[in-house]
Symmetry: D2
């Protein structure tokens, strides 16, 4: 984690002050439970809350660190400092518990808190995606597979599919959050040897966690692995959307543009540059979030009732990954909110290949007329290639250059277009007439491709 890629809200969850506050609450709730059972005096439990429930200031944190320096044990350091506030009754704190009871339950809570932030971010992102989808529901744009023009669709469909992708991520994170939200207060090897399981149940309910059904010294790490794997999937979706923006902003495509603030500078050397740096940045951040997945999986196989190899990994990846993903999602929302859509360029690009994307329509029409698929394919392919090759000659943008901005696909009638070549094809002319072909291709061409948009939107967006 570096400051540059972090937001205060998420950072706070992972700061020592929040961590020690949670540790205290776990211990204090446990004391309440122990007092209820008569294991420790009720007065003691009260005293712990009264004397110990204070903010963890920088001063207190430094004191704890100093004690840890000596004892080499963080929970003992915490307890020692706490005892300095509570006095004699401090000896009832942590009774029958092991450090991991505190550490793991705390981390579970921090991960839960973080998940709630991430879920809120995903929600915001989905709202923006939906809004942009509705705005551009019928804005035509060329669909591309392999980076090559395929058939038209609409910009709204693009936004809609990312909406749906993030709705899946939302569901996944809810599952992962649920999985990670457990509390273990089960002692040295998970047997409750020195503490009644009711304490676990009590603390869990106070913290909004579920009791861990069976723990060792620690909460099993397959839960954490699953959590980080889920974050890795979400990050990959961030990359997916960021990559789309980067492609659409590249100079030759220029169909969208990240907002560029008045004082922003694109390059120290080239004053003309407007780069999609935020989306590029997200691509990198996605790699960082994903990089936590393997270590998290490696953390699952621990020795016997636990070894501590997972700890250093989690100290780093838990805050770093969550802070990075939180930042990335908020940045992504901002990019999308400010994203400049350039529908004229979309249309220009869509038309640049003079109807070549209509090949499938002709193919299907011929098949319908009784031509074999193989033969129809060959006829259409060879004429499409003629368009293609004429464009290779360097005049690739000629077809639509004089058209007004509101030009439509229908207007392409110049002699390099697909229709032209098809009408010149002798074999084809024996199969269908020129007017048949022209009526097929020139009538409402675009609407042919977008007739199901409403239907798809109904599938994607809940009422």
């Amino acid at each position: 984690m570096i400051e540059r890629y972090s937001r205060a809200e998420m950072v706070k969850i992972w700061e020592p002050a929040n961590k020690f506050k949670i540790w205290f609450e776990i211990e204090a709730h446990a004391c309440d439970a122990l007092a209820k059972q008569g294991v420790i005096p009720k007065k003691a439990a009260q005293a712990i809350w009264e004397k110990g429930n204070k903010e963890y200031t920088l001063e207190r944190i430094r004191r704890i660190e100093a004690i840890e320096e000596e004892t080499r044990h963080d929970v003992i350091a915490f307890l020692t400092e706490l005892a300095e506030h509570i006095g004699d009754e401090a000896r009832y704190v942590h009774k029958g518990m092991t450090s991991s009871d505190v550490l793991d339950t705390c981390m579970a809570l921090q991960m839960k808190q973080s998940s709630d932030l991430i879920l809120a971010n995903i929600n915001t992102l989905m709202c923006i995606l939906r809004k942009r989808a509705e705005e551009t529901k019928l804005t035509p744009i060329m669909g591309r597979s392999h980076g090559i023009h395929a058939e038209p669709l609409t910009m709204g469909l693009k936004f809609a599919r990312y909406y749906k992708e993030f709705s899946r991520n939302q569901k996944r994170l809810l599952i992962a959050k649920d999985e990670i939200s457990t509390c273990a207060i089960s002692g040295a090897v998970g047997t409750f040897s020195s503490i009644d399981p009711k304490v676990e149940g009590y603390v869990a309910s106070k913290l909004g966690l579920a009791p861990e059904p069976i723990s060792t010294q620690i909460i099993p790490r397959d839960r954490h692995a699953y959590f980080f794997a889920t974050l890795g999937v979400i990050a990959s979706s961030v990359e997916n959307l960021a990559t789309e923006i980067r492609h659409m902003q590249r100079t030759e495509v220029r169909e969208v543009q990240e907002y560029f603030s008045p004082n922003q500078k694109g390059s120290s050397a080239m004053p003309h540059k407007r780069n999609p740096i935020l989306s590029e940045n997200l691509t990198g951040l996605a790699r960082l979030v994903r990089a936590a997945v393997i270590p998290a999986l490696e953390n699952v196989a621990l020795w016997h009732e636990r070894d501590i190899s997972h700890s250093s990994v989690e100290r780093v990846i838990a805050p770093d990954t969550l802070i990075t993903l939180d930042f990335a999602l908020v940045r992504l929302s901002k990019i999308l909110e400010g994203l400049i859509i350039l529908p004229n360029n979309m249309l220009t690009n869509l038309n640049a290949f003079r109807g070549i994307h209509d090949t499938q329509r002709v193919l299907l029409y011929l098949v319908e007329k009784g031509v074999s698929r193989e033969k129809a394919y060959k006829i259409v392919q060879r004429n499409a290639m003629k368009v293609w090759e004429s464009i290779e000659a360097g005049d690739m943008y000629k077809g639509h250059i004089d058209a007004p901005l509101e030009r439509k696909v229908e207007s392409i009638t110049n002699k390099n277009c697909l229709t032209y070549f098809l009408t010149q094809d002798e074999e084809l002319r024996e199969l269908i007439t020129v007017s048949e072909l022209e009526s097929l291709l020139n009538k409402e061409s675009l609407s042919y491709y977008i007739k199901w948009v409403d239907f798809i939107f109904q599938r994607v967006f809940p009422k």
Copy 2:
């Protein structure tokens, strides 16, 4: 995937014969739907089933491969060969569809079929874990954290926790299977430009899949990423359990042993060897399954409406990862079924450190008596260290050497044990009497640690 690590059942799902069979069914069902809509003649749809629904023999597969050699396109090769059987009506096949409609829907079905196999394996594994857990519910064994003796638990608790871990994996895989089980028949860029969405709905229902709510040319790859990430988690659990067995079988521990068949040879050089090679093997196989996670995540961000970079990755990781995990889970079940439990060795190890694991009990007792936690800790620690150091002197197994096989923890009374040192501690003797201490430590020592086993079993195992 290599033969050595594969099972015929899973391999079959990924063989060309099954793949082409599914391709055929997708196409044929689609024809039925198109016929219902009156887009193609009913007779054509019938003819396709009648003439095309034949087994994909090696001969047919070779023929398809030969066509692909020329066309460089697998689906076109498949359709061409199919047309050779169907004749004229073949031109209705694939009408309005794009290759990915077939490829992605087929892979979804293969992954679903594979998931069912894996789920069955997990179920078998869980049954065995439960059986072994019940057998060893009260078999005492030393619990270890950091590889160091901590407090006793029972072998049954170990099995129970893996049972629970795999029950989580079962749930995860059900979710991932559900996520991956979608069908897309939506045309070149997902707009249904040349095919009615009802076809998708019809084919989906016939194949037991859900229609993909919004696709591009392909089914979105976050679904696959999530699926492989889930497999990675399951593989890590396999490693977790395999690592435990390896540790328990190592010579100095020897608490369990993989079954070793009469003619098996452990080493070409050393005839005395009995190695936990199956569990070691699983550790490696887990690495292989995990290795698919990152490529699967990298596959999410595709260009525009798809690029095909994911394809080569999936051609390899989909079969390989599923075949490997299938094999690993079955192997793991077999290991567990045949696993030789050595309870006497467990007891020997448990007693080897002469009661040192009882330190927490003394600590808590002192705290209860009003001693500060800090002071109690110091007293107990210094005496535990005396036991520890006496064992460093090389005679680490002395304490229990003459005991009969059914020796119990209570019988440790020699002068190097924890009780002995504690009773020699002057500061301690001022706090509690020797008889208090002896009655604390020597009475039902083991039962102190396992009193909640019933409770935990009830939490873990459903009625």
Copy 3:
């Protein structure tokens, strides 16, 4: 590994016949060395070569597999089958050796053989890159950072930089090959307890390997990890070049094109498609090769003198990764050899933004004239943005549409170009004259950017 992505030459190295041949040679050379030392009879060593040095036919391989089925030990199975050919003297074979002596030395040799193939592929690739670089040394093309036009360079420089990148990979692989080429014949735990180190030295020299200075039961796995990490770097370079081609082939850029054979089909639905599928395929294959890096790194930390967790990993990744990379490099060479360069399109794209890429020149000129960098930047940026915005209006290709194919940068003089806007800028006109500006920008514009191409070529290409 799947057949689709493999070449016979590399596959052969990893087939059982080659493996057993190497095993035999290791054993037979070891016998020679033992005979020299008088440990076994010379006649025995001779007999082993005479009776045992036969091809490993399918029949022999099946026999070995059958024995392994029973003994669960591959080397013992191999030795047993060998004994069936050699007879009584077979008892001298493998004397004092451990299985890993054979297995690890064999794998070292296979990796060395594979490295030689990969090195040959890299060499071929470099030759093609050099040839293509020289052909296009002065072919102008727009340079892009962030996907956004930056300043021109030449196509030759692109090829040259990949040449250099692969020359680094060549060097890296030579180092990795050297590292991996060791022979260990040191017995059960590497102590030579039952075999004289001279045997190791003799076998090593016969096989062209170096003796492993210190082994355990096995050759240390940091060597293998380094080897696979190196393959991962090479694969990433493959992806780098493949990504460049994919970008340059995308419809809106169309500066290069993969060769498309006459009977090839781009899409089952869209006959017009010509997709860069080979380069996309390489992107996926790169992910597969990279996926082996983490498992190889995880294989380093083995228990004590070895555990066998690395073995299953290597059985898969060693052949798969090498076969995949071999295939990818050969495919890449073929793509580059057949790559269609479209210089006219390069020029069209270069000019599409009407001189906007010249901003730096103006900036530097102003600074030279005494204007502060800050002020100069602002002036140039605001005029560049005017060009940019005028292009946003949808007419992005207008500037150069009527120019002949050999149009040059100098010819852009229409009123939307950078020069035009600059000359309209009042603040700027106070600083420099219009004719100063025009003479700066219109004179040999392109040669300004490519004047150091010769110099760079000299740095890159050895005489």
Copy 4:
């Protein structure tokens, strides 16, 4: 990176003050070169050094950050702040350069500086390993494969093999450092369009770097990928050694022990614990360093002349990975320096299986006597299994319990030992006499296994 796992020396290299200092030096050296060429006034270059060469205090750093807030460009912010110190002549700074010239050259220098620290750490580590190896050169310890006793070796051989492993890492890092130590000052797309390559050469030589033979806007990222891959290999070696220590310290083995300071606490619940937490910690840190490898490989394939997706990744992994590895290596050295060796326990463990490790000797002896390998193997195996099974009965430590601390392998003569069972084997007795067998096994048993230690040490340690 977190403070807990960092050392000031390495952190300093990556702090803003050092970064800006290097940025300044690059700019100032470049000005010197430009002045030499007469491109800018000599006085200007002097002024830049005189007025600009000041420490980057917190105040300056905050100022730069404030400017970046507005311009969204770090190098422009740096230059702006610098101009505030230099005044008018500031306009000559950065002339003809692009931001990446500064950023990439700076990062190269930081990585070089970091490499030097890591190399020093490896050197220290190797010295300690050598010292410990020499101390324990002949200290016998059981060798283990698969976690199972194999044949004896010496503790010195263990240390020696890690020494050698780190000497390989040393060599690898020297190569990677050399690869990464390049300087690029080549302008916007690497063509030197606005700057003479001599500037690059001059700055490179001043900073101790090599000029990058061919760059784009940036230094090619395969160099960085190779660098991080190398760090991943080193980290895996750290894990390898740490895993060995963890195994040797586990309670049942107890052959070594991490130093445990007098006030240290092993567990908050269990005062008796002494855990190998430092080595466990290194296992986790190794996972973190390795996690950077895949993102670094993903960074290689950038779009055209660069995209900036790599940047966020490197901002995190460059400091984090180097700081973590630096910390890990120093910690590892400290662990090894303070490592308590327990030779008596080594001997106890070695003898625990009553000579079972001698099976190979008997096997080879029988083969030498003319018995077939197969038959000899069976005889020896069945007797070894008798020892093994007698130990399964629970009395695994009996054989050596009354022996003095300096007991030797030879002294094992009780009736459960390998020799005993062998002498009872009727088939064997027909082949060799009891006295033959006893003289084989009881004479200098240990020296049989360690006779080549001197030889190996000579191979490993340079004079």
